[in-house]
């Protein structure tokens, strides 16, 4: 008797978004528990905001204050190592994530076995150690920690301005917009022939219900991100 086919779950994300890290870690934990095929799809959040005519939530001061408290409580509960950057506005609105997005895309195109760990290492830089993710040296450091061989990293970094890489990042961003995305993370679970889009890191229990899977909470005991 054939095993039931794995359900495809696409995880569209940008490492610039702190709530995305929560969702990323939890989904990585559930990869082992659920009959799913988790596909990481790095996109460009700025492109999503433009495409959906949205604004980052932190632009409402009371909301920004709340998010800081909310992220602390959730990351404690979920066992995800987290520290808000010392200058979040600069990190999120000025420095941005175009190089990180292109580098993740290049890795996705050439050696996607490293995509999960590279994503994790970039999150640890921006949202745990308050380190840069825009400079080539920063991306090299993250790649090294992710186990990517140095010559491969150098080669991939040289392709960041290639049309193929730019196009692929743009296509992934557009694919998310076509699913109705307006932020990160955008999770698309393919259930019974239908694409179900979930925004944010707080619909995972509902998604479990729709996937016909069991929800065990955030599974802190399966934490992979090391401090």
């Amino acid at each position: 008797m054939a095993a039931p086919a794995r359900k495809s779950v696409e995880f569209f994300y940008d490492v610039l978004s702190p709530y995305t890290w929560l969702a990323f870690e939890v989904m990585c934990r559930y990869q082992q528990k659920w009959n799913i095929d988790l596909k990481l799809r790095p996109f460009f959040l700025s492109g999503i905001m433009q495409g959906a005519d949205n604004r980052p939530p932190g632009m409402v001061p009371a909301k920004a204050t709340y998010m800081g408290q909310d992220l602390k409580r959730l990351t404690d509960m979920y066992q995800v190592p987290f520290n808000m950057p010392s200058n979040p506005a600069e990190v999120m609105f000025i420095k941005g994530s175009i190089n990180a997005g292109r580098f993740l895309t290049a890795v996705d195109m050439n050696c996607d076995q490293y995509l999960e760990e590279l994503t994790r290492q970039l999150f640890l830089r921006i949202y745990y150690r308050d380190e840069d993710i825009t400079e080539p040296a920063s991306l090299m450091a993250a790649a090294a920690k992710a186990g990517i061989p140095e010559d491969l990293t150098k080669q991939l970094l040289s392709t960041l301005k290639d049309q193929a890489v730019k196009d692929r990042l743009r296509q992934t961003t557009q694919a998310a917009l076509d699913h109705g995305a307006f932020g990160s993370p955008t999770i698309v679970a393919h259930i019974d022939g239908k694409a179900q889009m979930f925004f944010g890191s707080d619909r995972l229990e509902l998604m479990a219900h729709m996937l016909g899977e069991k929800w065990y909470g955030p599974l802190p005991e399966l934490a992979k991100a090391k401090m």
Partner: protein
């Protein structure tokens, strides 16, 4: 107890009736103990304030979930009808439904949440939610909270059923009269309550509740404030229940669809 379980009474009467008499005595003692521990529990119940507006669909979800968990968690749920328009004005925040992509998403999201929680919530057109006169429903809820709070829960639910399930008006006095009747408010009381919508003390109380929420850091609805060891913990939205449970030292047991009022 006056008899032994394995004595002559059991042998002559049969085991089961004797065991039931024995158990009945135990039950009386247990009930007495549980009542006194319930009194102790009441004193230590944690206050959970729910600030809500009936034009907020996610407030309905939070309302029903907290009503279900009232009997499961050691909490004292306090309903605080406020005015989301005042919160938006003060914080510079905007109704999410004004953005097309967010409105479309909310429609899907609420349809799925309706199934998951067994609450018949359905996003109405934004025009229905943006009517200025909807504040009459906030003022009516405030008047009820002041004068006859025993009707607050039912009236809140009925107003949500109108605007957030049947796409019906909640701004007109005639609509509010119908809602009050459906909520079980005696017909003799309703005219007085409808007049109270225009009273200064009711307007002030609504403003006051809204300001209290703002003081807790509110920027949207629902705003839940759990008082944990003397510290108010503000939580926004209807998707932080596992966190709320964790902070209250309670267990999240999911949507509890079997407790749905629908």
């Amino acid at each position: 107890m006056g008899f032994t379980l394995w004595g002559p009474t059991t042998i002559s009467m049969g085991f089961i009736p004797v065991f039931m008499m024995y158990a009945a005595g135990w039950r009386r003692s247990i009930l007495k103990f549980s009542r006194s521990s319930k009194m102790a529990a009441l004193r230590s119940r944690k206050v959970v304030e729910l600030f809500y507006d009936v034009i907020s669909p996610y407030s309905w979800v939070a309302f029903e979930v907290l009503c279900r968990y009232r009997s499961r968690w050691n909490i004292d749920l306090q309903l605080r009808p406020f005015f989301i328009g005042g919160v938006f004005k003060e914080t510079g925040n905007k109704p999410p439904g004004l953005l097309a992509a967010k409105y479309d998403y909310a429609q899907h999201d609420l349809r799925r949440l309706a199934d998951f929680y067994k609450i018949p919530v359905k996003m109405p057109p934004m025009e229905r939610l943006m009517r200025r006169e909807n504040v009459n429903s906030n003022r009516l809820l405030t008047a009820v909270n002041l004068d006859c709070p025993e009707h607050l829960e039912n009236l809140s639910r009925e107003l949500w059923m109108r605007v957030m399930s049947r796409d019906q008006d909640i701004s007109d006095p005639a609509s509010l009269e119908t809602a009050a009747a459906a909520a079980g408010i005696p017909s003799g009381t309703t005219p007085q309550l409808l007049r109270r919508i225009h009273d200064d003390d009711v307007k002030a109380a609504l403003k006051d509740t809204t300001n209290q929420a703002l003081a807790y850091g509110a920027f949207g609805a629902p705003t839940i404030v759990a008082h944990v060891e003397g510290t108010p913990v503000m939580i926004w939205g209807s998707d932080r229940f596992p966190l709320l449970a964790h902070m209250l030292g309670e267990r999240w047991e999911g949507p509890l669809r079997e407790m749905a009022k629908y």
